[in-house]
């Protein structure tokens, strides 16, 4: 077992699960959790959901209290970013000037929201942190004309939150349909339709050419020449893995820290969560997920493997995420690269299920308001179930 110290960089979901897992394996040495944010680890999914609901300002959705973390004997270094990594010297630098040696390192620096190019105006927000969510809340409380740039999950959830408060909102999507990468071509239209059902205008095939306004945003200029008035703009155009601090580390970085199937990036260095691109043995391919479940599981697995590399086990998973739109719940399991998609039920209905086939296997499932079924399909995908069996289970 390692003498330590074990250092985890990134104090969010994956990092938290890494330190908890390190202790669970019996590691008793020095354990540090380094985070760029001032906060104790907190949960992000609520930020685009319940956190935006009208009413009292909600508390930060912390995963654990400070006492709970102290009980694990974790040294917290919050509010300081790691600024570089030297894998030969087994050393990271904190805040530009403090060297910290590690015996094992877990990288869990997550992702950061992509910004629109150009100057930043007041009233324009991305949504990744609790500060972002507070700013958006405040703007919604004040009443506003709202434009969401990007028809992905976060943009759609923020639009849902706005509609709950009767704020008018327009979603702009540059592609002909939103969410094509996330749910596949066939199902993207069915998801987009949920916006129309709930009174949100979705405009596809238009891109933003600029923002109008002096200090505060007043409008969004579009590629068709028109200007959409707005005093709140939420930009949801995706996130990039946070790897800038790894530039001179010698690690392979290609849209994430490249890892093998045990989440190992280099000797003694492992990665987990939104920042990790690893080989998922279940699908035989490299993946980088931005999902709660895999971030939590990878954090635990990375620390376990880092502490016992000789017994390292592969991390394989059927990807899973959920998203709350209006009063609807969307759940997706597996992958969307499919030869065929079969819809069970009626897409005009308030619940439906879509199954994704690759060759003769079930590889994915997307459900609207069918929480009782989705995990059964997830289990089937994990077992490598035949397409015919999935159809039979669905009553086809």
């Amino acid at each position: 077992m390692s003498e330590g110290p074990v250092v985890v960089v990134g104090a969010s979901l994956a990092g938290l699960r890494a330190v908890e897992s390190a202790r669970k394996t019996g590691y008793a040495g020095r354990l540090l959790l380094v985070g760029a944010e001032e906060h104790l680890p907190y949960d992000r999914p609520p930020l685009s959901k319940a956190f935006l609901d009208p009413g009292e300002d909600p508390a930060v959705p912390h995963h654990r209290t400070e006492e709970e973390l102290r009980a694990l004997d974790v040294e917290l270094r919050l509010g300081v970013p790691a600024t570089s990594l030297d894998t030969d010297a087994r050393e990271i630098v904190l805040g530009g000037d403090e060297q910290l040696r590690y015996d094992r390192l877990v990288i869990a620096t997550g992702a950061r929201a992509r910004q629109l190019p150009g100057e930043q105006l007041d009233g324009v927000h991305t949504l990744r942190t609790v500060e972002d969510a507070r700013s958006i809340r405040r703007a919604l409380d004040g009443g506003c004309r709202m434009v969401v740039v990007g028809g992905g999950f976060i943009g759609s959830e923020v639009a849902s939150a706005a509609r709950k408060r009767d704020v008018d909102v327009t979603i702009l999507e540059a592609a002909p349909l939103p969410l094509v990468r996330a749910v596949g071509e066939q199902m993207a239209a069915a998801c987009a339709d949920l916006h129309a059902r709930n009174g949100t205008e979705l405009r596809c095939g238009v891109s933003v050419t600029g923002l109008e306004g002096e200090d505060c945003v007043e409008g969004v200029a579009l590629s068709d020449g028109s200007i959409l008035p707005a005093d709140l703009v939420v930009v949801g155009i995706g996130a990039d893995p946070v790897t800038d601090w790894l530039t001179d580390s010698g690690l392979q970085v290609e849209d994430g820290v490249v890892c093998d199937e045990t989440l190992r990036a280099a000797p003694e260095v492992y990665a987990a969560g939104d920042v990790a691109r690893w080989h998922n043995p279940l699908f035989g391919r490299m993946m980088r997920l931005e999902h709660w479940t895999s971030a939590a599981e990878q954090g635990a697995a990375a620390a376990r493997n880092a502490l016992a590399p000789a017994e390292a086990t592969p991390y394989s998973t059927v990807p899973y995420f959920w998203s709350d739109w209006y009063s609807d719940k969307l759940q997706m399991v597996g992958i969307t690269a499919a030869d065929e998609v079969t819809v069970i039920g009626d897409l005009d209905d308030t619940r439906w299920l879509a199954l994704y086939r690759q060759e003769d296997l079930l590889v994915g499932a997307l459900a609207l308001n069918m929480p009782g079924k989705i995990m059964k399909y997830r289990a089937m995908i994990g077992r490598g179930s035949a397409w015919q069996d999935a159809l039979a289970f669905a009553g086809r």
Partner: protein, 63 residues
């Protein structure tokens, strides 16, 4: 050991079912059913995994 569910926190995401389908099942109405609220001691590790898998911390173990 006893599994305790906080129904106000559960949002029917089904991760617990994914980990331990013999103990948890989300119904079609979204309500979580505890199939065996008092699992045998030998299943502790699995139960701990199911509790940790819940994104809303709706599950806990009582002795």
């Amino acid at each position: 050991m006893r599994i305790v569910l906080d129904e106000n926190k559960c949002s029917s995401l089904g991760m617990c079912e994914s980990v331990a389908p013999d103990f948890f099942e989300v119904g079609d109405d979204g309500a979580l059913k505890l199939l065996n609220p008092t699992p045998p001691g030998g299943r502790r590790a699995l139960m701990e995994e199911a509790v940790a898998a819940c994104p809303t911390s709706a599950l806990s173990i009582e002795e």
